[in-house]
């Protein structure tokens, strides 16, 4: 089998904030095309700082990053930002234009997509997110779930190769949570998810990257991670107490029954 070159490769990345906080202390990571990565770690372990290096929002003090074969340097930034779609936690920060349409068009316009293709892309992204009727709506009039979807549409319209999500399901009710999880799980891109919500990580990602204190602590498969109680607890992801209420209520069983019924008819 021929060895594919990684879509993202990070070598020995160091970064210190202007105020003196050392955020990254030598990160090494490669991600292959098509992988879905869960990036977990305590608050302040450097997850958000790391992903903001991928498209050059922060520039490391030392080390090198390549994205799709391109080194992340000034000349390539515009191309790389077209390759990476980044969804921020608070959709209010991502929707800064007067209308949803303008917001979805913002990325492609900056990538110099021409007028006809632009309209098509915007329509397509809005349709995918089920927001066709709200294109001309100011984003402050949307519900929180709609805002989250609009924020995703703004990066879909850029047709990226890699999508990065920071806490995609925070603050959503279970219904919207399921909708967003479903959408993310079915995206045909390389994905990186930062989240405290173990179930969504479990559904979407196959591989887990654990960060601690500016370094990569461990890289493992989702199955291994989820059974490692100690690691889960260390990263504030221990889910056990929620299980108490699953206990004794065998929902899975019940669900199977419902499905069986529908098959027999």
């Amino acid at each position: 089998m021929e060895k594919k070159s990684p879509i993202i490769s990070i070598k020995n990345l160091h970064f210190t904030y202007p105020d003196g906080t050392v955020a990254l202390k030598g990160v090494n990571l490669t991600i292959q095309e098509g992988e879905s990565i869960a990036l977990v770690g305590k608050n302040g372990s450097g997850k958000s700082t790391l992903i903001k290096h991928l498209n050059g929002i922060y520039q490391g003090d030392r080390g090198e990053i390549t994205v799709d074969g391109l080194p992340v340097i000034e000349e390539n930034l515009q191309t790389i930002r077209g390759l990476i779609g980044m969804a921020f936690q608070d959709p209010d920060n991502q929707l800064f234009c007067p209308t949803v349409y303008d917001d979805v068009a913002f990325g492609p316009i900056n990538m110099d997509v021409d007028e006809m293709a632009l309209h098509k892309r915007v329509q397509e992204s809005l349709e995918k997110m089920g927001l066709m009727d709200l294109a001309d709506c100011p984003s402050h009039n949307l519900s929180f779930g709609q805002q989250k979807r609009a924020a995703m549409a703004t990066i879909l319209s850029m047709r990226p190769k890699i999508m990065i999500f920071d806490e995609p399901t925070s603050n959503l009710d279970p219904k919207n949570e399921a909708v967003i999880t479903e959408i993310i799980a079915n995206l045909p891109y390389t994905r990186i998810l930062i989240s405290h919500d173990l179930p969504i990580l479990y559904q979407v990602c196959q591989k887990v990257v654990v960060m601690d204190d500016g370094r990569i602590d461990a890289i493992m498969s989702m199955e291994d991670f989820i059974t490692n109680r100690q690691l889960l607890r260390k990263n504030g992801l221990d889910f056990t107490f929620k299980c108490d209420c699953c206990n004794g209520h065998n929902h899975e069983h019940r669900h199977n029954q419902i499905e069986k019924k529908s098959l027999s008819f």
Binding site: P98, N110, I155
Partner: protein
């Protein structure tokens, strides 16, 4: 308080269909012409023209009337102050009280205040047809086509967007304070509370700006906001503008050469 200038932009009227560039340009010239008026009779004429334009928009008059509250608050005191403070000139009528000699009421002051008020109201009423008949962002985009620098346009659009975010933040925070039995009064506790409150809003906004800016960079922002604007001026648009210019000419002629009444 919630900005609701956008409420009626979907109506259909000759003013709504007017090219926003010509509309804003023409009406701002009209506003300055009204501001230059010297005679109270012309000021009444201006008010008439403003109301006429306003009626053409089909926007309910009561909506525009609400916008007069602020003007009334600022100019209202003139009606009290000016009759008492205007220097007497020949031809003025002055009332005074036999026992309070220092209290002289000059009717010319009252007229001056009325003139200022009429002019202010006429101009304020014009902002409704100017900016209330297009979606706010389209009006602002029109300003870019009128050669307002891109940097200013960007900042106007972003500020406008985040005003709503902070308004709802302010609303939730002041409700939380009210529920903790805070009732503002003229004392140090109130001022300290507001000072801290303001500081909190600022800190939170600064943290937000960082994220917003990063979100923009991620989508390829390079310092210039590319603006799409699809209007084309037609003959009807120029016709509407020339009608207003005739009105402007009428106002100036009546005020300067006919010397009003």
């Amino acid at each position: 308080m919630k900005p609701d200038i956008d409420r009626y932009w979907r109506l259909e009227s000759p003013i709504h269909s007017w090219d926003p560039r010509l509309k804003i340009l023409t009406l701002i010239i009209l506003a300055f012409s009204i501001s230059s008026v010297h005679h109270i009779s012309t000021a009444f004429g201006c008010l008439f023209i403003s109301i006429l334009i306003l009626q053409l928009t089909k926007i309910p008059f009561s909506f525009s009337l609400k916008r007069l509250a602020a003007v009334t608050m600022f100019v209202g005191p003139f009606f009290l102050i000016m009759p008492l403070t205007v220097k007497a000139q020949s031809g003025d009528t002055i009332y005074f009280f036999t026992h309070l000699k220092f209290l002289e009421i000059n009717t010319r002051g009252l007229l001056l205040a009325a003139r200022v008020y009429l002019k202010a109201v006429s101009i304020v009423l014009l902002t409704v047809p100017m900016f209330g008949t297009n979606r706010f962002d389209i009006s602002i985009k029109a300003l870019e086509r009128l050669k307002v620098p891109n940097s200013i346009i960007q900042m106007l659009l972003f500020s406008y967007r985040y005003i709503f975010v902070f308004l709802s933040e302010l609303k939730r925070m002041s409700l939380a304070m009210k529920l903790r039995k805070f009732s503002p009064a003229t004392n140090f506790h109130t001022l300290r509370t507001y000072g801290n409150f303001l500081g909190t809003l600022l800190v939170r906004s600064f943290e937000r700006t960082e994220e917003v800016y990063h979100a923009m960079l991620s989508r390829g922002y390079k310092g210039i906001l590319k603006i799409r604007f699809e209007y084309r001026a037609k003959a009807a648009d120029f016709f509407k503008s020339s009608l207003i210019f005739m009105a402007i000419f009428g106002i100036i002629y009546f005020d300067r050469f006919f010397k009003g009444f």
